[in-house]
């Protein structure tokens, strides 16, 4: 794996356009997560496809968010959290000492449950990431990045006339799309979404879902959701977590029509308890 570490730190990796559908972007192997002595994730192995949406479902406290946060090492920020196991991204071990989590997070963007724009202008919200990573050579280039991120997030037409307005002045759904645009602006390869629609109304949710579907063509997206309908609507692959274990993982269509495991069956048909 050492040989791949160098590849990892490069900002762009050549991508083959063909055979993408089956390519594994992030390969999680035998992940255990502990909070102090309490084990939250038990031996989860999950290969995640590139250019597809993978949804993680499961009852509250099943560890799906914890697992998601392993992928961009956000668990590092929690002192008592310990992660064991290997996660390979494009073949490189992201938990390797030579990988700085800051660099990793520029390639693995994250969108959170509650829209959390910085209390700055819309422009600054998006420009922040590219600025700290030095992605833009000048004001002009930065403008371009901001514009393209907003266009990709489907927000450009709504905000192009008020880029200096505070990000917090937008509606909840717009704020969440702003957060997605902010994540896109640092040109990540993987986007993690932790229940991105749980605070939004159905129309705003539908917009985000539409956006996720569009983004699928360019990114590897992992989404944690409480809404099974949402998982069914947006994802191609679905993983069902229960009590910190990965119970079932497969094509969304199959999971929602004919799950193999009775726990999955019980959960998605609303029989848990």
């Amino acid at each position: 794996m050492d040989g791949n570490v160098e590849d990892f730190t490069e900002t762009t990796t050549p991508r083959q356009a063909e055979n993408m559908a089956e390519m594994i972007k992030v390969d999680c192997r035998n992940i255990d997560v502990f909070y102090d002595d309490k084990q939250a994730i038990f031996d989860v192995s999950l290969p995640i496809q590139d250019r597809a949406v993978t949804s993680l479902i499961g009852p509250s406290g099943c560890g799906k968010s914890t697992f998601l946060r392993c992928i961009n090492r956000m668990n590092d920020t929690i002192e008592i959290a310990k992660v064991r196991g290997k996660i390979y991204m494009d073949g490189a071990d992201i938990n390797d000492h030579s990988i700085d989590p800051v660099l990793l997070r520029s390639r693995v963007g994250m969108v959170f449950q509650k829209p959390n724009p910085f209390p700055k202008s819309i422009y600054d919200n998006i420009a922040y990431g590219p600025r700290i990573h030095g992605l833009a050579a000048g004001k002009h280039e930065l403008d371009g990045i901001v514009e393209s991120a907003l266009i990709k997030a489907g927000l450009w037409d709504e905000v192009k006339d008020r880029l200096t307005a505070p990000g917090t002045s937008l509606s909840g759904g717009q704020q969440q799309r702003l957060c997605i645009a902010r994540a896109i602006a640092v040109s990540p390869e993987v986007i993690l979404m932790d229940e991105p629609c749980s605070a939004l109304d159905p129309i705003a949710t539908a917009r985000i879902e539409e956006l996720i579907d569009e983004l699928r063509e360019r990114y590897c997206i992992v989404i944690v959701t409480h809404s099974m309908q949402q998982a069914a609507r947006v994802s191609q692959r679905t993983a069902f977590f229960h009590l910190g274990k990965l119970v079932e993982y497969g094509d969304t269509e199959r999971i929602f029509t004919n799950p193999e495991d009775s726990r999955t069956q019980d959960y998605i048909t609303g029989r848990f308890g």
Partner: protein
């Protein structure tokens, strides 16, 4: 693979379970009605009981009503409960079942109508053929409905096998009746009715097969094509 053998626990929303149960009870009632129609119509033909035949014709209406009711319940379930996985299959299966049973009712009604056209002095041997077929079809439908009630894959596979017998029955009945008609051209009129009746019974058998296939899909989540069924039989150690 313990899923199919273990009984389903209740939904957290109990109304959901109630509605599903109500739906399946409704379908079973429809099935029972259809079964009785087959038996009664065959008796009417055998005994030339025109009154019974008229009754059977009338009974189709109640099946139609039940079907409409079931359809409404299904739409309600899909719209309000968003059934998933096994529930989704159960609801879709119920929709198919309702359609099939309704068709069975129609076919029985058609037999009843043809019964009214008979003269009462048909070839006994031919009538016996109809009765045999009716019994076989009735048995097949009963097995299929049993399979639905118990969510029994084995039983549903048996129904598929039974269908071959009925096809054989029909072919031999057809040939037999053709011989009678050639022997006695006066019988052509009534025997043609009998052939159509047999054809209808054969179609009832097909619908029973459809019900069995729906049950198979409901339970296993797989389409009951030859490969799947064989795989399954191999796995469970059953006979082909």
């Amino acid at each position: 693979m313990t899923r199919n053998e273990s009984p389903m626990s209740e939904h957290i929303v109990t109304a959901f379970t109630d509605e599903l149960e109500h739906l399946s009870a409704n379908l079973l009632r429809m099935g029972g009605l259809a079964e009785a129609m087959i038996n009664d119509v065959s008796r009417a033909v055998m005994t030339y009981d025109l009154e019974l035949a008229r009754q059977v014709i009338k009974r189709d209406e109640s099946i139609d009503e039940l079907e409409a009711e079931a359809e409404k319940a299904i739409i309600r379930l899909i719209a309000l409960r968003h059934p998933m996985a096994a529930d989704l299959r159960a609801v879709l299966g119920a929709m198919k079942l309702a359609g099939d049973i309704e068709r069975i009712g129609d076919l029985c009604k058609n037999i009843g109508k043809r019964c009214l056209e008979l003269t009462g002095d048909e070839n006994r041997a031919a009538l016996k053929g109809i009765e045999r077929m009716a019994r076989a079809v009735s048995h097949q439908l009963q097995t299929a409905l049993d399979a639905y009630l118990r969510q029994d894959v084995e039983a549903s596979i048996k129904v598929l096998e039974l269908d071959d017998d009925i096809d054989d029955h029909y072919t031999s009945f057809f040939r037999e009746t053709l011989t009678y008609m050639m022997e006695d051209p006066r019988q052509i009129g009534s025997n043609t009715h009998l052939i159509f009746m047999a054809k209808n019974l054969e179609r009832v058998g097909d619908h029973a097969t459809n019900i069995a296939k729906a049950v198979y899909y409901m339970v296993t989540g797989e389409t009951a094509t030859g490969d799947h069924v064989e795989d399954r039989l191999k796995r469970t150690g059953g006979t082909s």
